[in-house]
């Protein structure tokens, strides 16, 4: 963008070569597709056309790489967790997305989509948000690029993520509390889609995860794969090899797919950790791969939590970012072909992970990746053999969750 912004730390980001496109009609195996009202078809076609051209253009890629470097603070380091490693008996390495500007991996995708928005000549951006991280990232990019921004957020999440609501407003975004359905992330996506049906000619819908109709799962994966591509090169430099196990939390699945994409052609086991909520058996969770069935929601065929008739069920998770009753189609495909494994961590296990990383390493994780940490701590010696080398994507930092966790712990101690 501007040559004044020479990165003060690290090397500039080098983007990997573009990854493979999904096959005909946006499919990953049997999943994906474009199940949307006719009104949205022209916009999706335009977006696909523009993204394909942009992603093949050196100029666009250089602009994106420069933004990731000079604005988002990439590349993010990997951090070897000596204390935690000693405690658990496995070598734990974190990919530090918590250190990016705005504090989570969401910024990677948003900067890419903001560039696409400009390229398409649109002036207004809408987004859904759960934890508020994607909303904050979108509001941030819109402030940077001078775009109008409206963020849809479930009324329940507006309550539990008050800090992020305020940040979005500070950044100039309008935050619309969504009162329909379960008033969480799923309903925020619904209302964003409803807005888009009416405004599609002037508005870009900046989806926050690898969900939604084609081409979104592909675009968001390509913008997030910088996480995995960097991590692989860093692991290679530090370890001389791929890690044995790669772990990431899965809401819609963007930080996980971004990470997995870097390692998918290698030997590492890929493990996605879903929200176990109050326990899988309780029925109150967000474990869409474990307990979902194939269905169609938000424009794509994937795995969703549903009742016998096909009505979508409410998810439950302590973390707003994982409180989604579905998963991106590429995860459904990776699960179907057995290339990635999907496990879950309950709310309580996530809280254990939250405390553990804070105490051992002085790093307060967001509640979402705390699921991955908590799961790992319990899996060592079982699903993860002692002595393994494990890369965990720390998708975000825990500031946004501090008040909520403090309140929960206060109530428990009382």
């Amino acid at each position: 963008m501007t040559d004044l912004n020479v990165p003060a730390r690290g090397r500039p980001v080098v983007l990997g070569a573009p990854g493979p496109e999904p096959t005909v009609r946006g499919r990953f195996e049997d999943f994906g597709g474009q199940f949307v009202p006719e009104t949205l078809i022209p916009a999706l076609e335009e977006l696909e056309r523009e993204f394909r051209a942009a992603w093949a253009s050196d100029e666009f890629r250089a602009e994106f790489a420069d933004l990731l470097t000079s604005y988002a603070g990439r590349p993010t380091p990997i951090t070897e967790c000596h204390n935690l490693s000693e405690r658990l008996g496995v070598r734990v390495i974190l990919k530090r997305e918590d250190l990016t500007h705005t504090g989570s991996h969401k910024i990677n995708n948003v900067l890419g989509q903001a560039l696409l928005t400009k390229r398409m000549g649109k002036q207004r951006v809408i987004a859904e948000t759960g934890a508020g991280q994607h909303g904050v990232a979108t509001a941030t990019a819109c402030a940077l690029f001078g775009l109008d921004c409206t963020v849809f957020m479930g009324a329940v999440d507006v309550e539990r993520q008050a800090l992020n609501v305020w940040r979005m407003q500070l950044l100039g975004a309008e935050v619309v509390p969504v009162q329909s359905g379960s008033r969480t992330l799923k309903d925020a996506v619904n209302d964003a889609l409803r807005d888009w049906v009416a405004t599609v000619e002037s508005t870009h819908y900046c989806i926050g995860s690898v969900v939604g109709p084609h081409p979104y799962p592909w675009i968001v994966r390509e913008f997030q794969r910088v996480v995995g591509d960097e991590a692989r090169a860093q692991c290679l430099a530090a370890l001389g090899a791929d890690p044995d196990v790669v772990v990431a939390c899965v809401g819609g699945g963007s930080n996980a797919i971004g990470t997995f994409t870097g390692f998918v052609d290698g030997p590492a086991r890929l493990i996605g950790v879903e929200a176990g909520g109050l326990g899988i058996e309780s029925g109150r969770h967000g474990a869409s791969v474990a307990r979902g069935v194939p269905g169609i929601l938000h424009g794509a065929r994937s795995l969703f939590l549903q009742d016998e008739a096909g009505q979508i069920l409410e998810a439950h998770s302590i973390s707003a970012g994982l409180d989604y009753p579905g998963v991106g189609p590429e995860h459904a495909a990776l699960a179907a072909i057995g290339r990635a494994e999907y496990v879950s961590a309950t709310d309580d296990v996530a809280l254990e992970g939250f405390r553990l990383l804070s105490v051992c390493e002085g790093i307060v994780p967001a509640l979402e990746p705390a699921h991955a940490i908590g799961w790992l701590a319990r899996a060592v010696g079982d699903e993860v053999p002692l002595g393994s080398t494990v890369l965990v994507t720390l998708s975000g930092r825990g500031d946004k969750d501090a008040a909520q966790v403090a309140e929960i712990l206060r109530q428990r101690d009382a």
Binding site: Q34, G181, F304, Q311, I312
Partner: protein
């Protein structure tokens, strides 16, 4: 009863076509509401099978869907109720494709046929994804009504009209269902473009809120679908009598518009 031949016959007889939308399972007397709108002069009735996440619907139909779901409505219960309707005009269902694919396209299509349903409208199943459903629906003699939007290109419009059965559903505006203060300019434009592309009946729907708007829409289109205006009346407790009164007023306006 065949949707397309019935609507063509009515059009040839000089009628402007009127298709009210009723949410299945909205109130224990919802089948009486269907009978009432038929009695008030409907040419076909669209029966909504409620879905938990209706992205093409505004607050009114969302609320009706939620109320029906809370009362325990399922695709099975609604089709069982619909089967008891012997109203002498064709019925079509309007629902979202997850319910169809969840049951399985073949099973769903056969269930529609067995319940005496002539047609299906699936607003989130565009042309590119229609294959599996269309095969099942064609085999079961269920007519799949396709939607055309104001921003649909000429090329797609031709393909949509060619694939549509029963009628072509012109979406009158850029947006979701719900009442509007006036008829959008886009309404008559998409209607005339669709009319130029097909000989099928072309109906305008989404946002047609008053008898006056219906009459205006029907100066170009062959008729209208009326949803939120009727559902709002039902949510207020209007019941079959209120539905009858409202649809009779649409019928009168359409009949007077020649």
């Amino acid at each position: 009863m065949n949707l397309e031949s019935h609507l063509r016959a009515r059009r040839e007889a000089g009628a402007r076509l009127l298709v009210p939308y009723v949410t299945g399972g909205l109130g224990h007397d919802w089948t009486d509401v269907v009978r009432a709108v038929v009695d008030a002069g409907a040419d076909a009735v669209e029966i909504g099978i409620p879905f938990s996440d209706p992205v093409m619907d505004g607050p009114t139909i969302q609320a009706a869907s939620q109320r029906a779901l809370d009362a325990g409505a399922t695709p099975t219960s609604i089709l069982a109720d619909a089967r008891t309707l012997d109203v002498g005009i064709p019925l079509a269902v309007m629902t979202y494709c997850n319910l169809v694919f969840h049951a399985g396209c073949v099973r769903f299509a056969e269930a529609l046929r067995d319940a005496g349903i002539a047609g299906a409208i699936l607003p989130d199943l565009p042309l590119g994804e229609i294959g599996e459903w269309a095969d099942a629906a064609d085999a079961a003699d269920v007519e799949t009504v396709m939607l055309a939007a104001p921003n649909t290109t000429d090329e797609r419009l031709a393909a949509i009209c060619a694939r549509s059965r029963g009628f072509v559903y012109g979406v009158s505006l850029m947006g979701i269902t719900g009442e509007r203060a006036s008829l959008a300019d886009s309404a008559t434009r998409i209607a005339s473009r669709a009319k130029a592309a097909t000989d099928l009946p072309v109906l305008l729907g989404v946002g047609i809120s008053t008898p006056e708007q219906a009459a205006e829409a029907s100066t170009v289109a062959d008729g209208v679908v009326v949803g939120s205006a009727l559902i709002a009346r039902l949510l207020e407790g209007g019941g079959p009598a209120g539905a009858h009164e409202l649809i009779a007023s649409f019928r009168a306006a359409l009949d007077a518009s020649d």
